[in-house]
Amino acid sequence: MEKQENLYEILMDDIRFEEGLKACMNCGVCTAICPAAEFYDYDPRKIVDTVQRRDNEEINNLLKSDTIWYCGECMSCKTRCPRGNTPGFVIMALRTLSQKLGYFTESEKGRQQFAIKRTVGDNIFKYGYCAATYAVNPDLHPEQGPVWEYILENTDEVFERLGGQLNGTGTGPLRKIPKEALDEIKKIFDVTGGTEFFELIEEHSKRKAAEMGLQFESKGIDNEYFNEVFTCNSGNHNNLESD
């Protein structure tokens, strides 16, 4: 029997939750302009209304569902809410808690956090950038088009003409970030719980990979589990009545 923590109280400790949830009167302006609500089976108003009811079971279900992973964090909702709520912030608090508790692996969309950690997360430590030209693999990004493959084949020349400093020391676009700076970033992650959070994502994903019978490697993107979470779309996510 699962211990029933008071999930609402735990959420209240998250500053985004405090900022994001005052009281919702279900007016719907958030859902009205939410890009995710147009295409996904998603309704930010319903999520905020559910959470404010403080029902542990409902919040528990949300944390394990695909639902909380549909938001694109554009914050268009924040501009309009007449009560000063921010559904996008509530979503961020829910996502953080879902990962802390390991519930994110229970949903197809939630499992994808592993892929993000192994790309963006690892980039931060390795390069000091969330994204960098050399880290955008055309196999993972066919939508970047033929120009991208070209740029990757001719990066030095491209950057040199445009004033770049690709992996150079000193200043300039895509300079190599000095090791001391990367060390400081790593220390910041260590001290603030960032590293621990990354490790939680890894730990839970490893467990889930074993459950699903998928090959898992401790580093990199070349493994079955990464591939699965990066590409799997059941097709059951859409708002069927949208244009």
């Binding site: 998250d14 500053i15 985004r16 890009p35 295409f39 694109g72 554009c74 914050m75 268009s76 924040k78 501009t79 961020m92 953080t96 990962q99 969309k109 994808q112 956090q113 993000i116 790309t119 963006v120 997360g121 931060i124 950038y129 969330c130 994204a131 960098a132 030209t133 993972l140 939508e143 088009g145 033929p146 120009v147 740029i151 084949e153 020349e157 950057f159 040199e160 003409r161 445009l162 004033g163 770049g164 200043t171 676009p173 895509l174 970030i177 700076a181 400081e184 970033i185 220390k187 992650f189 260590d190 001290v191 603030t192 719980g193 960032g194 990354f198 979470v229 990066f230 590409t231 799997c232």
Partner: protein
């Protein structure tokens, strides 16, 4: 029919203070990776054309905003990373922050607001930063997005302009769609010039440089980046669908180009036109063409008479030749794919609008 007086009244309500010199510049992961020429041009514009002091500290890193908004980086972590940048600023003696990325800009603004409402968080961040790095920081006096800064100098740029945003064949102002990144002013309308509903930062540039701003029903709609909705391949349909929605909405107005201040938006509006054409054979410009998408640095560069190939336009998927022809900009085809020293590079195939 739209009335401009109404918009002008709104713009005057949202005039934020933008510093005019001595900037600490923080780069954008996306802009330097996908539009390196743009960041370089911004620095040249500021330093060489306008004679301003813009300082770049090689020790600055990503703000980790993409990680934060895809929910792998905790709030305490990003606050401390940001605080480290403030500490670097303090060390270098700078009080004005110039931010290249719109997500970053939104983050710096959000974090400063959070610290105002929750001083305990500010104290915690000071402790974390000191513990991790031994550094201390001050709150910057001014935080501006790089597009704010270009906006504030738009009249000086207009005075030095070699090109006007006018169709050189018809004499009519070019019809320009301006797209503002969501994190620029949707979270804190007062932190954006013109607020969240009718932002002026890009339309001000377009007006000053002779173009005509297009309003269309989905103008304020997110481009669809959606962070995790793009980063994970399985989700990209969301990202593509949202951008296509915008394209369909702007198409009847026949825009000559799209201007964006967020590097992600610029990249998406360029690449998703390719994807839509590739997957479904659909285009959104006139006569089966695609609509060139430019950063504000690239546009400012063209206006000041720069060689488009030194700005990097040749490295978009949607090529800008239709726009350059309209502007009357000299198109030196043989120079397009040459190295800095003038050596011929291979020519990429299958780009759009060629």
């Amino acid at each position: 029919m739209m009335k401009n007086e109404g918009k002008k009244r709104i713009w005057s309500d949202y005039q934020k203070e933008i510093a005019d010199d001595h900037f600490f510049y923080v780069r954008s992961c996306i802009r330097q990776s996908f539009f390196p020429g743009s960041e370089q041009f911004f620095l040249n514009l500021m330093r060489k054309v306008l004679g301003k002091d813009v300082y770049e500290d090689p020790a600055h890193t990503t703000c980790t905003g993409i990680g934060y908004h895809s929910d792998i980086v905790p709030a305490a972590t990003i606050m401390t990373v940001v605080a480290r940048h403030f500490a670097l600023m303090k060390e270098a003696g700078y009080k004005n922050l110039a931010v290249s990325c719109v997500t970053s800009f939104g983050l710096y603004t959000e974090i400063l607001e959070t610290w105002k409402h929750f001083p305990a968080e500010l104290e915690k961040t000071r402790e974390y930063l000191f513990k991790a790095t031994g550094r201390e920081f001050d709150i910057p006096e001014n935080v501006a997005h790089a597009s704010d800064i270009v906006y504030s100098f738009r009249d000086q740029i207009a005075a030095k302009a070699k090109i006007k945003l006018v169709n050189s064949i018809t004499g009519e102002p070019l019809k320009i769609v301006e797209h503002i990144g969501c994190h620029y002013s949707k979270m804190f309308p007062k932190s954006g010039i013109g607020g969240a509903e009718f932002p002026h930062v890009l339309s001000g540039m377009i007006d000053a440089w002779g173009g005509e701003v297009i309003d269309y029903p989905e103008r304020r709609h997110c481009c669809g980046f959606g962070f995790r909705q793009y980063l994970v391949q399985a989700n990209r349909g969301y990202s593509l669908s949202n951008t296509v929605k915008k394209f369909n909405s702007m198409k009847p107005y026949k825009p000559d180009m799209i201007l964006a201040n967020c590097p992600g938006c610029t990249m998406f509006m360029d690449k998703w036109q390719y994807t839509a054409k590739e997957l479904e054979g659909i285009t959104f410009g006139e006569k089966g063409e695609s609509i060139p998408v430019l950063t504000y640095e690239e546009l400012a560069g063209l206006v000041l008479g720069m060689n488009p190939w030194d700005l990097g336009l040749q490295y978009h998927m949607v090529q800008s030749e239709p726009l350059l022809r309209k502007l009357g900009v000299e198109i030196n085809a043989s120079d397009k794919y040459k190295t800095k020293d003038g050596k011929q590079m291979p020519v990429p195939q299958n780009l759009i609008n060629v």
